[in-house]
């Protein structure tokens, strides 16, 4: 497997876990935040599918999602759900940063750079909503 494919698989694994865990986030947050969570969930699903396509185009099989994932802490209220969402985005940023470091093609690198920035922006939003300071990650993904 090429380094670029390994990087894309890492990003895909992060997207898989995000898609799974945003289901928990969406079920936990207050009603007024659910539409925003749905939008983010849809964005992650779209990027997951694009990553799978990029991997297929390189002649490899995209890694499947796990059946379930372990939550890092109990998620019982809206604030905890935002904290989880921020942590998910940090993980996604990590996957994309690794993928950037492994990318050979401009297409894969550009795709992963966008994913890295989007994850950092969402992490900032969730930090703000959870009251976590500083809101912006200093070195997202690293």
């Amino acid at each position: 497997m090429s380094a670029e494919v390994e990087g894309l698989q890492a990003a895909l694994r992060a997207e898989h876990s995000a898609v799974w865990a945003y289901g928990i986030v969406g079920a936990t947050v207050a009603l007024e935040s659910r539409a925003a969570i749905r939008d983010v969930d849809a964005a992650h699903r779209a990027r997951r599918d694009e990553l799978a396509d990029l991997i297929l185009l390189r002649g490899a099989d995209p890694e499947p999602s796990e059946a379930s994932y372990e939550l890092p802490f109990p998620v019982g209220d809206t604030t905890a759900a935002f904290r989880l969402a921020a942590q998910l985005e940090a993980g996604v940023a990590e996957g994309y940063a690794f993928a950037v470091s492994q990318a050979d093609s401009q297409r894969a690198k550009g795709f992963c750079l966008t994913g890295l920035t989007d994850a950092a922006l969402r992490q900032t939003t969730w930090h703000q909503l959870a009251g976590i300071a500083p809101a912006s990650p200093e070195f997202p993904g690293l």
């Binding site: 940063a97 900032t124 809101a135 070195f139």
Partner: protein
């Protein structure tokens, strides 16, 4: 450190299209030394008929980025001096920007040396005054002006990440992403 990829011999990919005035001055100042200076670039012979290309080839790939980062830090300082209330609210953004700059300096010592040389060599020759921007008189306008500068910096870092390889690409991408968050917070 991984080297930047050179995509095109006529238009060196390492040169940001939005070069600052200082960068262009740096390019002129280093033209004479171009022949003996290692650039980290391979695969292209500089055309003697193209002095601009020679000057650009003498610049380390990250030099324009580091100069822009220094300009960004200066913009924070100027804004904080004029509006101390923003210094409290935005101190963390400035701190993170300084951390980005330090990390980039550590990742590209050659570029950092060029930036230092440019700063010292350009100082005495600044005989042509730069038109001052219109004075900013309120906090909201100052914040908006700073946001524009930060937004541009995020774009510049992202473009540099696209041209870089390996761990350096990831570092530049991370700095770009963090800076994009700063722009969001300023907006």
């Amino acid at each position: 450190m991984p080297e930047m990829r050179q995509a095109d011999c006529k238009t060196p990919a390492v040169i940001d299209s939005r070069l600052s005035r200082r960068t262009l001055l740096l390019a002129s100042a280093t033209t004479a030394a171009a022949a003996g200076l290692g650039t980290g670039l391979t695969g292209c012979e500089a055309d003697p008929a193209e002095p601009d290309a020679q000057a650009e080839a003498a610049i380390e790939p990250l030099t324009p980025v580091l100069i822009a980062q220094q300009d960004l830090l200066a913009s924070y300082e100027q804004t904080f001096d004029a509006f101390p209330e923003l210094a409290v609210a935005l101190a963390e953004l400035r701190t993170q920007t300084a951390a980005h700059t330090e990390a980039l300096v550590a990742a590209a010592p050659g570029a950092a040396a060029q930036v230092g040389a440019a700063s010292s060599s350009l100082a005495p020759s600044s005989t042509q005054p730069v038109p001052a921007p219109p004075p900013v008189t309120d906090v909201a306008t100052a914040r908006l002006a700073l946001r524009r500068v930060v937004d541009a910096a995020a774009g510049r870092l992202g473009a540099a990440a696209l041209r870089a390889d390996g761990d350096l690409a990831a570092l530049l991408g991370s700095c770009a992403a963090s800076t994009a968050c700063h722009a969001r917070l300023l907006g």
